[in-house]
């Protein structure tokens, strides 16, 4: 595995950012992972992964509005960069290629 491959959690977070669209911030990303990915991830972990991916140029973030419900703290919105999209596609292709042709996993029976 090369240094630029995505880990399982990084892939989940990137896909959740894409699914959340314009409203991709910590809460909505964690909710997408819980709803679609059926996995519970702590908010601190989501941000740690996003920080790491931002340093690698896979996502970018901007600060948004502050609301009273947030104690006056801003939201941090995330967007997947072109490089991030390429990485997601490459991971999907690699995984699809691994899935193909496994006789035990065909036909729905485990």
């Amino acid at each position: 595995m090369s240094a630029h491959d995505l880990s399982d959690l990084e892939l989940f977070v990137l896909l959740a950012v894409l699914r959340a669209g314009e409203n991709a911030y910590g809460v909505s990303i964690a909710r997408e992972i819980a709803r679609a990915g059926k996995r519970s991830v702590a908010l601190g972990t989501v941000y740690a992964v996003l920080d790491r991916m931002e340093a690698r140029g896979l996502v970018i973030s901007t600060l948004g509005e502050a609301t009273p419900a947030r104690g006056g703290r801003s939201k941090r919105y995330f967007k997947v960069t072109r490089q991030g999209l390429l990485q997601v596609r490459a991971t999907r292709d690699a995984l699809s290629s691994m899935w193909r042709g496994i006789a035990q996993l065909q036909g729905g029976a485990a």
Binding site: Y25, L63, K75
Partner: protein
């Protein structure tokens, strides 16, 4: 009322630990938003501890020398405490029998935590984590090397368990000492709760 108490306690802890110094304002905002939307207090504490651990280890990796300096600073207090302990209770050979031993140990570790908290305000979590890791390793080594003594003492089958519990309490006193001093001399606005903010803004 209870929810407000939990919220205030969490915000106090995050403020004293200096979590928001590490670009964590948006995460804390997310925590408050989710809690405001009905998440349980257990969820809030779980998320807060996970966030604190994540920030602590990230900061620790980035400031290893500072963490080493903090442990050395604490060692000065700990070694001084050992001398005081030996002066106060010189007549007893076996440490486990002494109430004074545990009291002085707890106070020494609390003082060490306080000193680290005061001298490393901007990296409090990282230095505190380093100190606690050191204390756990040192105590584990002490117990491992004295393990057989516990089984040679007559009628003291529960002594090891009791000493481990008392040691854990002493190590917890490091946290108490380190979180006692305020992090900054400002108005503490980072610890503002949503309710206080609504009142201030007249919403």
């Amino acid at each position: 009322m209870r929810r407000e108490w939990h919220l205030n306690a969490v915000l106090w802890l995050l403020d004293r630990a200096g979590v928001e110094d590490h670009d964590c304002g948006p995460v804390v905002g997310d925590l408050l938003e989710e809690y405001d939307s009905g998440k349980s207090s257990g969820w809030l504490w779980q998320q807060t501890l996970a966030l604190s651990a994540s920030v602590a280890f990230k900061d620790l990796r980035a400031n290893r020398l500072l963490a080493a300096r903090a442990v050395l600073t604490a060692l000065v207090v700990i070694v001084s405490g050992m001398y005081v302990r030996a002066l106060v209770t010189p007549h007893l050979l076996w440490a486990g029998e002494r109430t004074g031993f545990w009291f002085i140990s707890g106070c020494t570790l609390m003082l060490a935590g306080w000193l680290v908290g005061v001298t490393h305000r901007h990296h409090r979590l990282a230095t505190l984590t380093a100190l606690v890791c050191y204390a756990i390793l040192a105590k584990t080594w002490v117990y491992a090397s004295h393990f057989r003594h516990y089984w040679t003492l007559p009628g003291n089958e529960m002594l090891l368990l009791r000493d481990i519990v008392l040691t854990a309490i002493c190590i917890c006193s490091i946290f108490v000492g380190a979180l006692l001093p305020p992090r900054r001399s400002g108005d503490g606005s980072s610890a503002e709760t949503p309710r206080r903010q609504r009142v201030r803004e007249g919403v």
